[in-house]
Amino acid sequence: MKKLVKGNIALCEGAIAAGLKSYFGYPITPQNEVPAYLSRKMVELGRVFVQAESEIAAANMVLGAAVTGARAMTSSSSPGISLKQEAISYMAGMQIPALIVNIQRGGPGLGNISGAQSDYFQAVKGGGHGDYRLIVLAPNSVQEMYEMAYDSFDLAEKYRTPVMILADGIVGQMMEPVEFNRPEKKDFEEKSWHLNGCKGRAPRSIQSLLMKDGVLEKHNINLQEKYKTISKNEARFETYKTDDARVIITAYGISSRIAKSAVKLARKEGIKAGLFRPKTLWPFPSEAIAALAKPGVKFLSAELSHGQMIEDVKLAVNGKVPVEFLGKAGGAIITEQEIVIKIKEMIK
């Protein structure tokens, strides 16, 4: 049976079903439903909820909970995510699995509380210091908020890496019917690395400071090997009417919903448009995009930013075909009509 809930609530239910043991958060709009909902739910379930003194502390509490092998998460919106970057970089370096959720709002600075997609660079290009990557998932529906939250913990543990869900204020706030269809996870494998007291084994330490000669270089090589494996295995996407398309829109999250409507609108007018939607922003589905970059095809990156994902689309296309852009930021939203007008210009 489907339930009508907000994206932020579906996200909570997905994390709970996946066995979320500890949540640490801090108030910021438009993610406030997450800590509010979990402050009741986690306590009722006998799990951990702490409202931290800051985004910095919340992310470091996640680090502490996750270093003991427990499933832990924090959520925030753009300015708060900037504050979490320190702990995110440490968790990447220390190879600690955890979930960080960004319900994006307008920026830069304090920006506003409307949905936006301006944190793409921060999410997929680093954000914090050092050579690291996050697995970045981009839900575009309330159902996917549930499913991706659920899946994120398995991914994080499989690769011992933090995972980010990069959603936005619209997906977080909108209500849609959701099927809560995933089994409650209760049994978790014993990990080989977590800190839970050294009873019956040698003491362990987890660190990112590696001072001995060549050790940090080796650690970085190992991390890159891991990222290569993730790139090979985990790039996820979906396509809509791309087979015969002359213009392929690339869009993620809420933009992909608008873009899909635009494709339908264009098709009604006999214009062959299609949609390519990355579900993982890192790893970016570059090979799948490259395969679509055939002569005569043009790409249009549609985003609620001033052009961020387009850089990865261009890298994937590698100059073979034109890539154009349509986007707005600061809480403004592109419409399907605007996309259709842009497509018409492109095929003139």
Binding site: F24, I56, M61, L63, G64
Partner: protein, 248 residues
């Protein structure tokens, strides 16, 4: 011949990288002895700071995690809330706990987290070469107070135990020193009491250990002990600042 004293099991059999005359070695040993005596080594998850004691995980013979600078109280909160049955302590310096991490310190204390903090106060940033710390004394020369700390320019030294004592969440706060055997014995008692406070579920405990840093103070080890006795502990009076272990 009967062996009456040996290296604590909670210390690894390895050389420490601390400078000659530094107090960390003594404090590490006191912590390790207390952990052994309380029988909690195998359920300990400790948090190392950023600073000289970041290498604590190379010396302690139990599970230790790293934490970003100043964040050990938040990391310890995450560990302890998720695993209330574990024994959790942080080991932090003055810059870590009272400058960059002051918010984490105050709020972990105010929440009454059932953790213990071993706070090593040596009145400067040791690891980075002796800059001014929040606990640097008035008039004390450091790398970044070459004319001596002037309250008009750099403010006043922070007395962390006294500051935290105003918070209802704190149970046990004591300042000790390790500049002579008599004080080392007192320091061990305080550390053990703070650990016991956690074991008994009585809430937040912190022991501030006044420690010498001869290399960064530009003194011989002997002079640094003299300065600790004659100047440092006059500015930071020793003793229990708050003890509600009997009430909780």
């Amino acid at each position: 011949m009967e062996k009456i004293l040996s290296k604590p099991e909670a210390l690894k059999d390895t050389n420490m990288s601390y400078c000659p005359g530094c107090g960390h070695g003594i404090i590490h040993r006191l912590v390790a002895e207390c952990i052994d005596e309380l029988g909690v080594r195998e359920k300990t998850v400790a948090v190392a700071p950023v600073g000289c004691a970041v290498f604590a995980y190379d010396y302690f013979n139990f599970d230790v995690t790293e934490a970003p600078h100043g964040r050990p109280p938040a990391v310890a909160t995450g560990i302890k809330r998720t695993n209330p049955e574990k024994f959790v302590f942080t080991y932090q310096g003055d810059g870590d706990i009272a400058a960059i991490g002051m918010a984490e310190t105050i709020h972990a204390a105010n929440r009454g987290e059932n953790i213990t903090i071993i706070f090593v106060n040596n009145a400067n940033y040791g690891m980075t070469g002796g800059q001014m710390a929040p606990t640097t004394l008035i008039g004390q020369k450091t790398e970044t107070t070459p004319f001596g700390r002037d309250p008009k320019r750099e403010g006043y030294p922070i007395h962390l135990c006294e500051l935290l004592s105003t918070l209802e969440g704190t149970t046990y706060l004591e300042r000790v020193s390790i500049h002579n055997p008599q004080n080392i014995i007192k320091a061990k008692k305080a550390i053990k009491k703070a650990f016991q406070c956690q074991i008994d579920g009585k809430g937040f405990s912190l022991v501030e250990v006044i420690s010498n840093c001869p290399v960064d103070w530009g003194m011989t080890p002997l002079d640094s002990i003299k300065w600790t006795e004659e100047v440092f502990i006059k500015a930071f009076p020793l003793g229990a600042v708050k003890d509600k272990t009997d009430e909780k």
